[in-house]
């Protein structure tokens, strides 16, 4: 690699790194429409049955149960979506952890994404690609968009 190329790459990194998540090649973000509206609707029904008793119908939690909106975004930021899915799958519902099926849990995660104003898309969320989905607290700025 030529010195000029290295310098340009370094400058771009310094400019973009602070505070702005940059979409990495081959990866997608929770902001890229990773669930569908029908899936979130199924998740809403499941949430009401299994989760709302503690987290509340509006996901706002209570004094002792964490909210799933608001601070939810910074709390999960920096992870990949499989971390949230694994947590929901193995630790929830609190009174009977691990009792919901993988498809039910992906639906519930889809509903949680929708409830945090993340956009829907044309493909359903599935267990196959969760690790490739970055949980970014803000919409990443793509290199293409900065041109």
């Amino acid at each position: 690699m030529e010195l000029k190329t290295v310098l340009v790459a370094a400058i771009v990194t310094v400019i973009l790194a602070p505070g702005i998540a940059v979409a990495q090649k081959g990866r997608i973000s929770i902001w890229d429409g990773v669930y569908t509206e029908p899936q979130a609707e199924r998740g809403r029904v499941l949430y009401r049955q299994s989760c709302s008793g503690c987290h509340g119908a509006d996901l706002s939690g209570n004094f002792e149960t964490p909210p799933l909106v608001g601070r939810f975004m910074p709390y999960w930021s920096g992870s990949t979506l499989d971390a949230l899915f694994d947590y929901v799958s193995t630790s929830m519902p609190m009174h009977n952890p691990g009792s919901l099926s993988p498809s039910a849990n992906t639906d519930i995660v889809a509903f949680m994404l929708k409830s945090n104003d993340l956009p829907s898309g044309s493909r359903e969320l599935s267990t196959g690609n969760l690790k490739a989905i970055n949980f970014d607290s803000a919409k990443p700025v793509s290199k293409h968009a900065r041109k």
Partner: protein, 365 residues
């Protein structure tokens, strides 16, 4: 023998319930986790799994683990978790000279610690007998004695962060009456590690009270004296101490142990409580749920009592009641991770006390 004069009655009525708290004790079948491990370039000192004895053992456990932390001579220490174990670990680390940052997903007042009983119960089910390490008794005694010494500094202060109160055990039948055989249990009945009488020299003894010297409408009564925590004042003092010593608190959720390696602090005391089951995939953590119901405070009541498996204790922020009776042959709540407050259970406990006080002669309430 001292006569228990002038005991004010508890106004035990369901319409005086003003809060119900449910939580999970961090019971660990192997006893508290106190080992050290390296994650990346960070030294992680574990400090969790104290079962129903977290409030009681916190200072002693913190002292032991901070000594391990200070062996690296760190200037800065991170503490993960802000329950009573995390908070006392942070204070001990400050007292040892470190700058401390607590990383927690909940502030102290929303942690499971503050939904506990908050009494001096250092021997509360520390481990399963079959899984306890051989040195648990010695480690437990050291934690207990160091905690006891540290707690002294909070007794007698304004607001009573810690206080002693007489506690009465009441029964309509002799205490040595054989219990009926336990109901069949859906799970193996746990055999808990027996700690023995190691701290008899600092533990008040039980006294039998004859009916002519106690005011309760029961035939059989015993009395001891117990130490308990008033959460609000005690928690406020500990947090104030932490901030006054320059402590920082960062609200943060960790998704995997590997993230600890990215903290700026390279010596970390890990105090996640029951959450260790998820974050550290610690299968030795077994849920053991419990519930307390809170009635409007009665400052004139300065004692506690236990009757028909319901315990009542007058604290500064309310009359606390807890039903400790076994369920289906198991300790109540053992194996359950249900943290939903149960109103019917709360009312049933209060009604047991209501019936007891209704039998007082000339009950003024």
């Amino acid at each position: 023998m001292d006569r228990p004069f002038n005991l004010a009655p508890i106004r035990a009525h369901v319409d005086r319930i003003y809060d119900i708290k449910a939580c999970i004790r961090p019971f660990r079948t192997k006893g508290p986790r106190l080992d050290v491990e390296q994650i990346g370039d960070a030294l992680v000192i574990h400090n969790y799994g104290h079962s129903g004895a977290g409030w009681s053992l916190s200072w002693g456990s913190a002292d032991m683990q901070v000594q391990k932390a200070m062996s690296r001579s760190p200037k800065r220490i991170a503490v993960i978790g802000c329950g009573i174990i995390g908070l006392t670990s942070a204070l001990m680390a400050q007292r040892a000279g470190a700058q401390v940052t607590i990383y927690t997903r909940e502030p102290f007042q929303s942690t499971r610690s503050v939904r506990a009983n908050g009494s001096w119960t250092p021997a509360s089910r520390m481990a399963l007998a079959s899984e306890a390490p051989s040195n648990l008794g010695d480690v437990w005694e050291r934690m207990t004695r160091i905690s006891w010494k540290n707690l002294r500094q909070y007794i007698g202060l304004a607001g009573n962060p810690l206080a002693f109160a007489d506690h009465y055990y009441l029964s309509d039948t002799p205490f040595d009456t054989a219990l009926p055989p336990p109901a069949p249990s859906p799970l193996p009945v746990p055999e808990f590690y027996a700690l023995g009488d190691r701290i008899g020299d600092i533990t008040p003894k039980l006294q039998d009270l004859t009916p002519d010297i106690h005011p309760f409408p029961v035939k059989y009564a015993r009395r001891t004296t117990r130490l308990f925590f008033n959460f609000s004042e005690y928690g406020h003092r500990l947090m104030s101490e932490f901030y006054a010593a320059g402590g920082k608190l960062v609200m943060r959720n960790f998704h995997s142990p590997g993230e600890l390696a990215h903290l700026p602090e390279k010596v970390i005391i890990n105090c996640p409580g029951y959450s260790a089951r998820d974050l550290w995939k610690d299968k030795a953590m077994i849920p053991h749920s419990g519930q307390t119901e809170w009635l409007i405070p009665q400052p004139e009541v300065n004692y506690g009592l236990t009757y028909r498996n319901v315990e009542a204790l007058s604290k500064s922020d309310g009359i606390m009641m807890i039903d400790t009776g076994p369920r289906n042959g198991l300790p109540k709540g053992y194996g359950s991770s249900n943290e939903m407050p149960n109103r019917a259970e709360a009312e049933a406990a209060v009604r047991i006390m209501e019936e007891l006080y209704s039998r007082f002669p000339a009950n003024p309430i």
